[in-house]
Amino acid sequence: MATVTEAEAPPLAPQPAPKPPKKRGRLVPYWLLLPGLLWLVVFFALPMIYQGSTSVQTGSLEEGYKVTWHFATYWDALSEYWPQFLRSVFYAGAATVLCLVLGYPLAYLIAFRAGRWRNLIMILVIAPFFTSFLIRTLAWKTILADGGPVVGALNTLHVLDVTSWLGWTAGDRVLATPLAVVCGLTYNFLPFMILPLYTSLERIDGRLHEAAGDLYAKPITTFRKVTFPLSMPGVVSGTLLTFIPAAGDYVNAELLGSTDTRMIGNVIQTQFLRILDYPTAAALSFILMAAILAMVTFYIRRSGTEDLV
C-alpha cells in the first residue's frame, strides 16, 4: 500500500510535452478511461445512491420498501447506536496512535539504520499479508489467552490492575475486553502505517542529519526539527490508511471482543445480514461514510497536505 503515497511523489522526469492535436488521437484517452470508469460508476458510485435511497425508505421485507423520505430513520439510528459510533472512533483513534508510536521506530530503522538488512526486514513487514488476516487475528486468541504467558506477565507486573482501573480490561482477562480489540486493530493495520512512513523517511537526504549535527543539534533536536517535519506526508497518509479501515472494522471486535466492545461495523453487519433491517443499516452506513469523509477532509486541510489526493 506504499503505492498510495507514491502517488504524491513529484514526477522525476518532466511531463511529456502535450502532443500536437491529431484528429484521430483525440478520443484515445476517453476510450482508455471508459471501461474502468464505467466499472467504478456502476459498482461504486451508483451503489452509494441506491444506499442513500434505501435509507429513506419504509416498509417491510414481505411487502417491499418504498421511498417515503423517512428521515427519522437517521435520528432513530443515531440515538440508538451512538455508543457504538463513539466506540469506533475511540478504538480506531487509539489504534492509530499506537500504530504511529510503534511503527515510526521500525520505519526509521528500515530507512536509516538497517544497512544490508533493509530488504529482509521489508519482506518480514510485508510477508504476513499473505497469510489470511483472519487466521492471524485468531492467533491473538492464543497469545492473549486467559492464564497464558502474556496475561500472566502483565498480571505479575500489575499492568492489568492499572488497565482494569481504566476500564480497558476486566479482572484477570485481556480477551473480550477493549484492550484486546485495540491490540488486534493495531496489529492488523500496522503495515499500513509503516509503509507510507518508510516511503517518506527514505526520501530524506541523509546529509540534512549531518548538517543538523554539525550545527550542534542533539539527536533529539535533529529529530524534532528536521526528521519528523520532513516525514509529515508519511504521517498523514499513514494515519489515514490506519484510521479509516479501523473505524469500519468489525472483525477484531467480533473475534477478540465481547458484546460490550461492539463497533459500528458490527451493528451494520448484523442489521444487514441477520436482522435484515435494510433502511436502518443503510442509514448507519451512510452516517459512517459522511463522518469519515468529513474527518478526512478536515484532517487533510489542517495538515496542509492537500496534494495528497
Partner: protein, 266 residues
C-alpha cells in the same frame, strides 16, 4: 555508564525490532499451532506435537474447495483490475482531457472508504437488481476495489518515465504500436506487476466485502470466519503457514533474479 550509552545509541533499533516481533508473533503462533493436536474443536491451546494436519491438509470438509475458489476469484480479479487500471493510469498520465479532477476523485474515493460501507451499498445495488449472489458478484466487487490500487501503482511508475525514450524510439522509425510494445510497456512493467500483486493479495484476503456479497458461496476467508464459530481445524494453520513461506520464497527468488539482472547491466 557504557551500558546506558549503548542503550541510548541503539534505542531506535531496539524499539524497531520490538515492533517487528509484534508483527511476526502471530505468524509464529500460526506456524507452531499447525503442529498441534488439539483436544476439543478449537485449536487455541497447545496439547501435543503432531504432523497429522500437514500429512492431510485437505482433510477438512469444504476447506480446499473454498481455497481453490478464492484462488480463482483472486486470479480473475487481478486480470480484470490490472487491465482496466493500467488503461486508466496511461490515460491520466499521458493525455489531457476534461473532468480530470472528477476522474481522480472517483479513483481515490474507494481507497478512502471503509470496506463495510462499500460492501453494504453494493449489496443494496445487487438486491435492487435482483442479482444472484455468488461467484460473479464477488468477482465484480473485487475488481471494483482492486482497480484504484492498480491505477496508483502504475501511475507512479509511468510518471517517473523519461519521455525521451519513446521519442528516441520514434526517431528510429518505430511505429506507435512497436514503440508501445517494445519501449513503453517494458518500462511500465514493474508498476503493473506491483499493482497486479497487490490486487491478488487484496482479493485473496478480502473478507468484509465478500461476506456481504457472496450469498451462500464460501471463499477461504469466509471458511475461516465460519470456523471461528464452529471450531478451528489445524489445517487452517497449515494453509496459513504454507502461504507465508511461499510468499517469502517468492519475494526472495524475485529479488535474487532482480539482483543478478542489475549486476549484468552494470
Amino acid at each position: 555508564m557504557p551500558f546506558v550509552n549503548w542503550l541510548k545509541r541503539h534505542l531506535v533499533v531496539i524499539a524497531g525490532l520490538l515492533t517487528l516481533s509484534y508483527l511476526l508473533l502471530p505468524n509464529i503462533v500460526v506456524t507452531v499451532f499447525s503442529f498441534n493436536k488439539p483436544k476439543g474443536r478449537f485449536n487455541y491451546q497447545w496439547q501435543q506435537f503432531s504432523t497429522d494436519a500437514w500429512k492431510d491438509p485437505c482433510g477438512v470438509a469444504d476447506m480446499c474447495g473454498s481455497l481453490s475458489l478464492s484462488l480463482q476469484i483472486a486470479f480473475w480479479a487481478t486480470v480484470g483490475a490490472t487491465v482496466l487500471g493500467t488503461m486508466i493510469a496511461f490515460a491520466l498520465v499521458r493525455y489531457r482531457f476534461r473532468a480530470r479532477g472528477a476522474v481522480n476523485s472517483l479513483i481515490f474515493l474507494p481507497m478512502a472508504m471503509p470496506e463495510v460501507v462499500m460492501a453494504a451499498s453494493l449489496l443494496t445495488l445487487f438486491l435492487n437488481m435482483g442479482a444472484q449472489l455468488g461467484f460473479w458478484t464477488i468477482l465484480i466487487a473485487h475488481i471494483m476495489f482492486c482497480l484504484s490500487f492498480v491505477v496508483t501503482a502504475v501511475k507512479a511508475r509511468v510518471m517517473s518515465m523519461d519521455p525521451r525514450l519513446e521519442q528516441a524510439a520514434q526517431d528510429l522509425y518505430a511505429g506507435p504500436v512497436q514503440t508501445f510494445l517494445r519501449v513503453t510497456l517494458p518500462i511500465a512493467a514493474p508498476g503493473i506487476a506491483a499493482g497486479a500483486l497487490l490486487s491478488f493479495a487484496l482479493s485473496f484476503d478480502d473478507f468484509i466485502i465478500t461476506n456481504f456479497n457472496a450469498g451462500s458461496t464460501v471463499t477461504f476467508p469466509m471458511f475461516v470466519w465460519g470456523s471461528a464459530q464452529r471450531g478451528t481445524p489445524v489445517q487452517i494453520n497449515v494453509i496459513g503457514t504454507a502461504m507465508f513461506l511461499l510468499a517469502v520464497l517468492f519475494v526472495l527468488v524475485s529479488m535474487l533474479i532482480g539482483n543478478r539482472r542489475g549486476r549484468q547491466k552494470a
